[in-house]
């Protein structure tokens, strides 16, 4: 074959899909392929499919790395005569080229024509003739009606503006509300072409006026993946109980004066953490994990206690390794250190791995309860609500009376695949009991 090299672009294999992940390559550079030989496997939102080659020839380059998600239309493999085999050439821009995007946008195709962009001799594309040279009084588009949405037409009529005198800057050549305000003689803004992309530019946040688009990355991306993975694979059940924690707040006040706790920020969170690490010994299912692949429930004889922390960049859940082996003052210091590091944004990935149970402290936000989502790899998460003074029925000497007490709500979400309502309730009741009477926890 002496034909020039041809790139196979990622097709839309599923009616309107916009991207797919390359799962595996079935060919390597230098291999000879026939038409319809399978070259790779891709995974879309709908299925895993094998892609057959539209070309016969020698594989000159694989343009996408395994594990990469690329947009439909991105060249993924180059096949030719083999005259110019290249090493692995990951696609620099895992997206259609800026020119192609600009052309598609100008042609009003968004997101592009997804079918039939394959091997075509000469692709001709069409775009609206530039209207930028239109002068005042000269109608921008004399051949057709002026495009504008009804509210803009109304605004134009009320302002006495002839839409034909306005230079349209809208996405599809329509007059926008902003255009009405612009002086008719103002130079036309640049056509809505994509900004010239330079390879060293950071992908810009795209401003479109009414919305701001922020890329999903970093902590937010991790949070999104972890939470949706958990929420849509783990059957969550949430239960809650509201209890009188006056004894706990008194204990906190007392411990703050205890020399053994010098330098520790003693808080009800420490009491709760202590209660949880103690009680997980006798409620091992809450400290376990459902291993779907192995079809096993893994019981863990240690507690890596996660504390969900709000940071400027988003949610992180670092955990305290072997928290159940710590003395209460050490546990207090560990909680202080963990939250300080998280707030500074210095939490390391390892500190977020291997957790066995998580507490999320929603009290500082003034919240009473909630339905927290389980941290992946764990069985349960406990939300610690705000401690409030409330009227409470207190029973003493066979008499009920109203008293003002410190009260808070504990909400527990657990994985109902292996933790049933009885087990979850027993654990939560035990934790609640420890806050009602924490005397045994710190002895």
């Amino acid at each position: 074959m002496t034909a020039p090299s041809q790139d196979f672009r990622l097709p839309d294999v599923g009616e309107g899909l916009v991207e797919a992940e390359l799962v595996s390559w079935q060919v390597a550079v230098g291999d000879t392929v026939q038409v319809n030989d399978i070259v790779c496997e891709i995974e879309t939102a709908k299925s895993v499919v094998e892609l057959p080659s539209p070309y016969a020839g020698i594989v000159e380059a694989l343009l996408v790395e395994v594990g990469t998600t690329v947009e439909v239309g991105t060249p993924i493999i180059r096949i030719g005569s083999g005259a110019h085999p290249s090493e692995f050439v990951p696609n620099a821009a895992a997206a259609p080229s800026a020119e192609a995007a600009a052309a598609a946008e100008a042609a009003g195709d968004s997101p592009g024509t997804l079918v039939g962009y394959g091997p075509r001799e000469a692709s001709t594309q069409r775009r609206a003739r530039r209207t930028g040279s239109a002068r005042p009084g000269q109608h921008a588009a004399p051949t057709g009606p002026v495009l504008a949405k009804p509210p803009v037409r109304l605004a134009a009529r009320e302002a006495g503006v002839d839409l034909r005198d306005v230079t349209p800057t809208g996405h599809r050549g329509e007059v926008t509300r902003e255009d009405l305000a612009a002086p008719a003689a103002a130079p036309a803004p640049a056509a809505p072409a994509a900004p010239a992309a330079r390879s060293f530019d950071v992908p810009p946040v795209q401003y479109t006026g009414r919305v701001t688009r922020e890329p999903i990355k970093g902590v937010r991306k991790m949070m999104g993946q972890a939470m949706s993975a958990s929420a849509f694979t783990v059957p969550h059940v949430t239960i809650w109980t509201t209890v009188d924690v006056t004894a706990t707040t008194r204990l906190v006040a007392r411990l703050k004066l205890d020399p053994a706790y010098a330098g520790v920020r003693v808080s009800p969170l420490l009491v709760l953490s202590r209660a949880v690490t103690e009680l997980l010994r006798t409620h091992p299912l809450l400290n376990a994990v459902w291993d779907e692949a192995a079809q096993e429930v893994v019981l863990r004889h240690y507690v890596n206690l996660g504390i969900a922390a709000a940071t400027p960049r988003g949610l992180v859940v670092p955990n305290i390794k072997d928290a159940d082996l710590m003395t209460p003052p050490d546990l207090g210091r560990a909680i202080n250190r963990l939250t300080d590091v998280a707030r500074d944004g210095r939490t390391q990935p390892a500190e977020q791995q291997g957790g066995t149970f998580t507490i999320t402290n929603i009290g500082p936000f003034g919240m009473e309860g909630g339905t927290p989502i389980i941290n992946p790899g764990e069985s349960a998460i406990l939300a610690f609500g705000t401690v409030q003074k409330r009227p409470w029925v207190v029973s003493a000497d066979g008499e009920d009376r109203l008293a003002v007490r410190d009260v808070c709500t504990l909400s527990l979400s657990f994985d109902h695949r292996h933790v049933d309502g009885a087990s979850g309730s027993a654990f939560l009741a035990a934790v609640a009991g420890s806050l009602v009477d924490p005397s045994g926890l710190f002895s």
Binding site: V13, G14, E15, V48, L51, P52, P54, A103, G116, T124
Partner: protein, 369 residues
């Protein structure tokens, strides 16, 4: 798991091993040359299907509805037709389209999205593909009632008496339209054959959940005969359809034929059947392949030369090239066609809109090359 071996109550004339067997009511009246013709049809239909599936994966088609495994049901039903008979297909009747002389490229045009179906239904007596599930059953019944009113039923003239075929699937059998069509056809004794390809799966829903009795037995309640045939047996399907069609042409009224077959592929290229069915079921049905059993008969029972098989294989290759190259060369749609294919006589208002739209299109310029 559906009942995989209902051998007791379907008509079979050729076993999966390629042995011809007798049936008290039905027999195949063609010779070995005719069977070679059916084999060629099935091989070329399968090639058309495989090539179109690949073209979808190349990004050349928006969608393709695979018929893999249903070749015998379609070729048997398609070849039993007479010229004047009229067919109302679903979107999967590529084999029937083949029998009706529709260029497969015209099927690709629809799935590439460059037209809405470009063949002339009256030229091929093959209606355009119907995407809406089951609605073609009413169209077919209405057409058949029209045939009655034209006096083209029961005249005894073999070139005049006309039957209509309404294609549908097991999934459509749950649709209201399908059952309404049954009612009308029974009431008016319309000359229509309802041909159900029961491929066991309505996308991800098994037939066993669609119907607690075999689909062909539903005909009892409507008051016309129902019969089940081995849909992977092209000889049996041909024979059963031949009888049902002749009954319709003779004025005997409707018949429900259930071709018991299997969808070897996905529902469409958008579907992933590994998510809802077990591979051992697919493996089981591979043993009942509709083409392999005919090849087996032709080689052993009919002593057919290797050269015949080579020739058919070469034709299939040619068809593949025709489809690949032809697909990419299909003309882009002309948008103003929208105005031209709705009314026989275009109203003035629409003419004005057409002209205005043409001007608008002309206000664009070519860029790039």
């Amino acid at each position: 798991m559906p009942d995989l071996d209902p051998a007791v109550d379907y008509v079979q004339l050729l076993t999966p091993e390629g042995e011809r067997v007798e049936h008290p009511d039905y027999s195949f009246d063609g010779d070995d040359e005719a069977i070679r013709g059916l084999y060629r049809d099935m091989v070329l239909t399968r090639r058309l299907d495989v090539e179109a599936t690949a073209l979808q994966r190349h990004g050349e088609l928006g969608l393709w509805a695979q018929l893999l495994g249903q070749e015998a049901a379609q070729i048997g039903a398609g070849r039993a037709l007479r010229r004047q008979d009229f067919v109302f297909p679903t979107y999967r009747e590529h084999g029937v389209a083949w029998c009706r002389g529709v260029d497969p490229l015209q099927l690709l045009g629809l799935f590439r999205g460059v037209d809405q179906g470009s063949w002339d239904p009256t030229e091929h007596n093959f209606h355009l593909y119907t995407i809406v599930i089951g609605s073609q059953m009413l169209h077919a019944t209405g057409y058949a009632m029209g045939v009655q009113r034209d006096g083209a039923v029961g005249t005894g003239d073999p070139d005049r008496d006309t039957a209509v075929v309404a294609h549908f699937g097991d999934g459509a059998s749950s649709q209201g339209d399908v059952n309404e069509a049954f009612v009308f056809a029974a009431s008016y004794q319309a000359p229509v054959v309802f041909f159900c390809q029961n491929n066991q799966w309505a996308i991800s829903e098994p037939t066993t959940r669609q119907s607690v009795i075999p689909i062909y037995r539903r005909a009892d309640g409507f008051g016309f005969p129902g019969i089940r045939v081995d849909g992977n047996d092209v000889l049996a399907t041909y024979a059963v359809m031949q009888t049902a069609l002749q009954r319709a042409r003779d004025g005997g009224g409707p018949t429900l034929v259930e071709a018991y077959t299997y969808r070897m592929g996905a529902h469409t290229t958008t579907d992933d059947p590994t998510r809802y069915r077990h591979s051992d079921e697919v493996e089981h049905w591979k043993l009942k392949d509709p083409i392999a059993r005919v090849e087996s008969y032709l080689r052993r029972g009919a002593g057919t030369d290797q050269s015949f098989f080579d020739q058919v294989a070469a034709e299939a290759e040619e068809l593949g090239v025709h489809l690949r190259e032809g697909c990419k060369a299909l003309p882009e749609p002309v948008v103003t066609d929208l105005f031209d294919k709705v009314f026989t006589e275009t109203p003035a208002e629409l003419e004005a809109q057409r002209s205005e739209y043409a001007d608008y299109l002309a206000s664009f310029e070519e860029v790039g090359a």
